[in-house]
């Protein structure tokens, strides 16, 4: 049934124009302006942008899990019960080179691939890629088949094994659906940086840079041009949005 909604000039349009003005004045420099967007673009995902992360493995401290804790607090996925069934949107991985014995550590999360295998295999299209490169799960359509979890080469996705309550307002999560790192899309859409990047900056290590990969003047693009970086499982040619430097 096609919906014919009566025109309501009062509430909606009033708030729309009001909100844009409010955003600009309340948070100068931090929100929309930081990423060179326009107020109009703030109301929509921008196809001209491609959001990405650069993680400098050298700067990542082996005993630090600030990014993981920040993500847990921000998105509310602290599990209780069986750790094998608990969700993990981001985790610190410790690597030891089998040949040389050299040890490093780095955070691994959804790689926000340009050619995501999880999007290809989702039967309902719940796993999708936004125009600005962020890969998300539309939990309204997710049937919980877990095929995307089988398909992800990075084990980025988690299945919610028990009923949830007290979810964060900006990060709904529910029993029987699949979830993963959203690149803090609720923050990105407000012009802020993901919680993990903010936390990493706060520790002083500064191993994570977030930004627009399509913008040659952004910090991340300049860093990617300056340092040798690689993508995980580069052989799969997925063109991830997450790059690792000095690894």
């Amino acid at each position: 049934m096609k919906l014919d909604r009566p025109e309501n000039p009062s509430r909606r349009n009033f708030f729309k124009s009001g909100a844009a003005a409010v955003t600009l004045t309340l948070a100068p420099g931090v929100t929309v302006m930081a990423f060179g967007g326009s107020p109009a673009a703030a109301g929509q995902a921008d196809a001209g942008k491609r959001w990405g992360l650069m993680i400098d493995v050298n700067k990542c401290a082996s005993d630090c899990t600030a990014c993981v804790s920040a993500c847990k607090t921000e998105n509310g996925w602290e599990g209780h019960g069986d750790p094998e069934q608990a969700a993990q949107w981001i985790r610190k991985v410790t690597l030891k080179d089998k040949a040389t014995g050299h040890e490093t550590s780095m955070p691994v999360m959804c790689q926000h691939c340009e050619e995501p295998p999880c999007v290809d295999v989702c039967p309902t299209g719940a796993s999708f890629k936004r125009v600005d490169g962020i890969v998300l799960v539309d939990k309204h359509t997710c049937i919980g088949c877990r095929y995307c979890m089988m398909a992800c080469p990075f084990k980025a996705r988690s299945f919610v094994h028990e009923p949830t309550t007290n979810q964060k307002e900006h990060a709904p999560r529910g029993n029987g659906t699949v979830e993963s790192c959203t690149l803090c899309v609720h923050r990105v859409d407000e012009g802020r940086v993901p919680a993990c990047v903010e936390a990493c900056d706060a520790t002083g290590n500064g191993a994570m840079i977030f930004g627009d990969l399509n913008d040659p003047e952004s910090d991340i693009s300049k860093a990617l041009a300056a340092y040798p970086t690689t993508a995980l499982r580069a052989d799969l040619d997925l063109n991830q949005g997450v790059r690792y430097a000095n690894f």
Partner: protein, 398 residues
């Protein structure tokens, strides 16, 4: 050869007993589904490392066997082998029932089975799952038409062959689709192989025929009908041939993987260091499920053809379940190789062999699916004229 007379089986005491047992198993499955849906998958043995477990082993078994069960009808209609013609109707009915059982297990294990309508209306055509949904439902419709063409006297028999051909081709595409669920996953070293599709096709032949043989012999015995020894011998021989085909594709899969150094990890895991998976592969899949049935059939033991066929079928089924368990669960138990050349550890069990202990709820659901398939077949045999009455030696031809 005298004209084949199809008759419903009688409602004997043994049939009722079997029906009640199967109904109880279905009830147990229903209760387990309610429990898992209410408490979440936390109560099952599946976790974020092993996302598909025992229910999926049962479901894929039933779906693969469903496509193979239609084989007997295809041999009759498409390949013009008259000896199998009387068995076509049971073959079609069994194909539909097994598929329904398998799909029910799959759907009831979903995280959100209440969203089945979403799955049936929202399609992503890059996903082989979506194509499978269409192939499975199409299969049921096509086999129903195939059965109707055979059973309705007002329909000319000339339509049987084209219907059989469509059903045969459709089921090959369907089984290719089922194998491609795994074959098209680039992420995991145990999958990502083109041979998955033909491997599943060969498995469908073997598993479908073994289920068919057992169901045929059971229903006939319960109704006091005879099957000619010569027919059983032929069915047994066919089964052994199909088992050999499965063995061939398995061998090709593993030999190819063994040759590539990058796959040495997964091969070592499955073939020697995988604990339960290695035991299931060599002990159950290869020895019990492949070599022993072939020895039984080709070995020329003095036992009756029927006994040999039945026993071989049971062994093939057990071996098939083990093979699917090794593929589905073993393929997930081996850790993803995100960092080749490194020893990996994390709080998310990277680099570790994953643990999986199936819960009783998963077993109940899987067995419930089998029970649904069997009860549907039994009801069909009781209500419809699908079983022939004269499979005697003297009527065997071709």
């Amino acid at each position: 050869m005298e004209r084949t007379i199809y008759r419903e089986i009688k409602a004997t005491q043994s049939l009722w007993t079997l029906g009640i047992i199967l109904a109880a198993l279905i009830a147990a499955a229903g209760l387990s589904v309610l429990y898992v849906e209410h408490n979440g998958h936390a109560v099952t043995g599946m976790n974020n490392q092993i996302v598909w477990g025992l229910p999926h082993v049962f479901a894929i078994f039933l779906i693969v066997a469903a496509s193979g069960a239609l084989n007997v009808a295809s041999i009759a209609s498409v390949f013009n082998n008259k000896a199998y013609k009387p068995l076509s109707r049971l073959s079609g009915v069994l194909a539909i029932s097994l598929l329904v059982g398998g799909l029910l297990v799959l759907v009831l294990d979903l995280g959100r089975p209440d969203r089945l309508l979403v799955a049936m209306t929202t399609f992503n055509f890059t996903s082989i799952f979506t194509w499978n949904i269409l192939l499975y439902t199409g299969f049921m419709a096509i086999v129903a038409v195939y059965l109707w063409v055979q059973m309705d006297r007002s329909v000319h028999p000339k339509y049987t062959k084209p219907a059989g051909l469509v059903a045969f081709v459709w089921r090959l595409i369907l089984t290719t689709g089922t194998g491609s669920i795994f074959g098209w996953l680039v992420a995991r070293p145990g999958y990502d192989a083109a041979i998955m599709a033909p491997l599943f096709i060969s498995m469908s032949f073997a598993l479908g025929l073994s289920v068919f043989i057992l169901v045929l012999m059971t229903l006939f015995r319960m109704d006091g009908r005879n099957i000619s020894d010569a027919l059983l011998k032929r069915l047994g021989n066919l089964l052994a041939l199909f088992v050999a085909a499965v063995l061939y594709f398995t061998a090709v899969q593993h030999f190819t993987n063994l040759y590539a150094t990058e796959h040495s990890g997964i091969e070592t895991f499955i073939l020697s260091e995988g604990g339960v998976y290695t035991t299931l592969f060599w002990g159950v899949q290869i020895v019990i499920g492949s070599l022993l049935p072939m020895a039984l059939i080709y070995g020329g033991t003095p036992a009756a053809a029927g006994t040999r066929a039945a026993l071989a079928s049971v062994l093939v089924i057990v071996g098939g379940m083990a093979q699917l368990y090794v593929i589905i669960v073993g393929g997930q138990a081996y850790p993803l190789e995100i960092f080749p050349g490194y020893e990996v550890s994390s709080s998310f069990f990277d680099g570790e062999i994953a643990n999986y202990s199936p819960s009783v709820y998963e077993l109940a659901l899987g067995v419930g699916g089998v029970a649904i398939a069997l009860i549907a077949t039994g009801v069909a045999a009781k209500v419809l004229r699908i079983l022939p009455t004269n499979l005697e030696d003297k009527n065997l031809e071709g």
